[in-house]
């Protein structure tokens, strides 16, 4: 099989103007992935499926990854030589940079016809709040149907062009997306008749202590 580098070069020559970049995987497995632009994702996916040299006809796994905003601290060191000939004076300067977060969808593709793989595709949303739509790849691989619904349900990525985008594991009236890193479960999520420990603390937070009952004195006959 072609290496991810070769696939990227071929995609760039086939789709001029598309943004395809290689994301390297430092681990021993070395499964490098291709980051696609949302605008061209479906055309590229169709090409990968139909290209006679690749024939990636089997989309094995679709999953989401949540990357929250991160504050990255960069340290720069500047050393100024001491004119008197002593040890150089080192000044450390720390700069904080905010790396904006995103939601990422990962596709693992294999070829049943040519028995090779995996080729890993990644798509990223603009941010985690209002730009969360990505093109659905269900029209290319039917295997994405339930798995994209799951990513929509648990991460909140909206797949455009999906035939039946509904919640799949959580119930329909559920509001949040539980697989996001900043998800906080509701206080009344767990109910116990005799709460203790964490559950009791949550129950106290959720149900304020009831006012003492007013006992009416009944007039004696």
């Amino acid at each position: 099989m072609e290496t991810p580098d070769q696939i990227r070069d071929r995609l760039l020559s086939r789709f001029p103007g598309a943004a395809v970049s290689l994301i390297s995987n430092p681990g021993p497995a070395a499964q490098h992935s291709l980051l696609l632009d949302a605008a061209d994702a479906r055309a590229i996916a169709t090409f990968l499926r139909d290209d006679p040299g690749l024939q990636l006809d089997f989309c094995s796994n679709v999953t989401g990854v949540d990357w929250p905003d991160r504050e990255i601290v960069e340290t720069t060191r500047t050393s100024t030589p001491d004119p008197a000939g002593g040890p150089a004076k080192v000044v450390e300067q720390k700069t904080k940079r905010l790396q904006p977060g995103c939601l990422e969808v990962v596709y693992h593709l294999y070829s049943v016809a040519l028995l090779h793989g995996p080729v890993v595709l990644r798509l990223r949303t603009g941010n985690r709040s209002d730009q969360v739509s990505l093109p659905s790849l269900t029209p290319v691989w039917r295997a994405c149907e339930f798995q994209e619904r799951e990513v929509f349900d648990l991460f909140g990525v909206v797949f455009e062009g999906h035939p039946d985008l509904r919640r799949i594991l959580m119930w329909d009236g559920f509001k949040d997306h539980p697989m996001r890193k900043d998800y906080v479960e509701p206080d009344d999520y767990e109910w116990e008749p005799t709460p203790h420990g964490d559950v009791l603390a949550k129950a106290k937070r959720h149900y304020p202590t009831p006012a003492p009952a007013v006992v009416k004195e009944e007039p004696k006959p």
Partner: protein, 390 residues
């Protein structure tokens, strides 16, 4: 077949059946089968729209057992998730363990000693025997053969579970594999007991097949029912015996050659029609091949350590990286996608559940068949709700 979508589900609380009028089809009946229905193998629900007895629309509904296994996996250490993988597909805990252990070993670049690899193959093939035997029993139960085939299957299953119990201490929740090997070595006499079981399994299959394979009722209920084309199967990500019953030669034991499978001589049975009968038959033939693998593995298993001495269980922190790794489970391709950021917990822990993805084609298989056939088709897909819902 297309028709205007009948208005959404009845608003009446507790309503499970209602009539829908449609100008083209006349009266359609919408039935909510499940979640508590004996044929759905757990808490699974099918919203079926019926024209007479014929299925014209079917939407699977699940999530009743959802406990967000993946979130729990991200909040637990790598090893802490190992016993929890038992609960995914609770019939096949040994293959779930292996799939997870293999993924972490690839993530951390660990090696596995030879004896442990042999033990893993033996346990995986015993799990395959167990799963397929049970499935044949469940399928016959769904056809209406109340009890008898299932009891025969459960008698044999119990013998395999006894082996698992004497090895790992637990019948079903084995928690046996570790990163870099296995937890304990086989006790004295275990391999002989496994050999005796393997040698006797063929005659059980002969007996079982004499009752079932040529059975007129089974053939009438399953042949030509729920045909799956090879093209749809590959596109829909269907794996395991379903895919091979559709005639696609794709067995990860051959394709990926993980573990020591390239050392064993076995064949991959394929179906010709992709119908329910083929799915049953492919599983029976797979069991025969599993027996061959078991005989070779039990003959060749060497003595030696079962754990990589360099493996670190406590304070295990793999270097940053990412991996997707998969094995051929009895139900299909079970895979794990892990992202490590160098911490004690995985940053992302994802299970690729074969049962869930095989359900993608449930509606396609059932359309045009009667509601009674939908039950049999669902039985032949072989789902476990612990894995579908996670």
């Amino acid at each position: 077949m297309s028709f205007s979508d009948p208005s959404p589900l009845s608003a009446a609380p507790g309503a499970s059946v209602r009539a829908v009028h449609d100008e083209f089809h006349g009266d359609l009946l919408e039935v909510s089968m499940g979640p508590h229905h004996p044929s759905t193998h757990g808490v699974f629900r099918m919203m079926v729209t019926l024209d007479g007895e014929t299925v014209v629309k079917l939407k699977p509904v699940f999530g009743y057992l959802h406990r967000n296994h993946e979130k729990i996996g991200e909040n637990t250490s790598y090893l802490g998730s190992m016993p929890y993988t038992d609960r995914l597909d609770y019939l096949c805990s040994m293959t779930n363990n292996w799939a997870y252990a293999l993924a972490v070993e690839k993530l951390a670049g660990q090696a596995v000693p030879e004896r442990a690899e042999y033990l893993r193959v033996i346990l995986a093939e015993l799990t395959r025997l167990l799963n397929h035997t049970c499935l044949a029993g469940f399928l016959l139960q769904d056809c209406g053969a109340s009890g008898t085939p299932l009891m025969y299957a459960f008698r044999e299953r119990e013998k395999i579970l006894d082996l698992f119990e004497s090895l790992s201490g637990s019948r079903m929740m084995c928690n046996y594999q570790r990163f870099g090997g296995c937890r304990v070595d086989a006790p004295a006499g275990w391999l002989d007991a496994a050999r005796a079981l393997t040698d006797g399994y063929g005659s059980f299959l002969d007996e079982y097949e004499a009752l079932l394979t040529g059975n007129e009722i089974l053939m009438a209920r399953t042949q030509g029912i729920g045909c799956l084309s090879a093209k749809l199967a590959v596109s829909a990500g269907v794996t395991g015996p379903l895919l091979r019953a559709a005639g696609v030669a794709y067995d990860l034991r051959k394709v990926d050659g993980y573990g020591f499978y390239p050392r064993f001589d076995f064949r991959v049975p394929l179906g010709a029609h992709g119908d329910t009968y083929d799915r049953y038959m492919v599983r029976v033939l797979e069991m025969r091949e599993s027996i061959r693998i078991l005989q070779q593995a039990l003959r060749d298993i060497p003595a030696g350590p079962i754990m990589d001495p360099k493996a670190k269980l406590r304070g295990f922190r793999p270097k940053p990286g990412e991996v997707y790794s998969r094995i051929e489970g009895p139900k299909g391709e079970i895979g794990f996608h892990l992202i490590s950021e160098g911490g004690p917990n995985p940053y992302r822990y994802r299970v690729r559940p074969p049962s869930l993805i095989n359900l993608t084609i449930l509606e396609d298989l059932c359309l045009g068949h009667s509601i009674a056939d939908a039950v049999v088709i669902l039985g032949s897909i072989d789902i476990v709700l612990g894995e579908v819902d996670r």
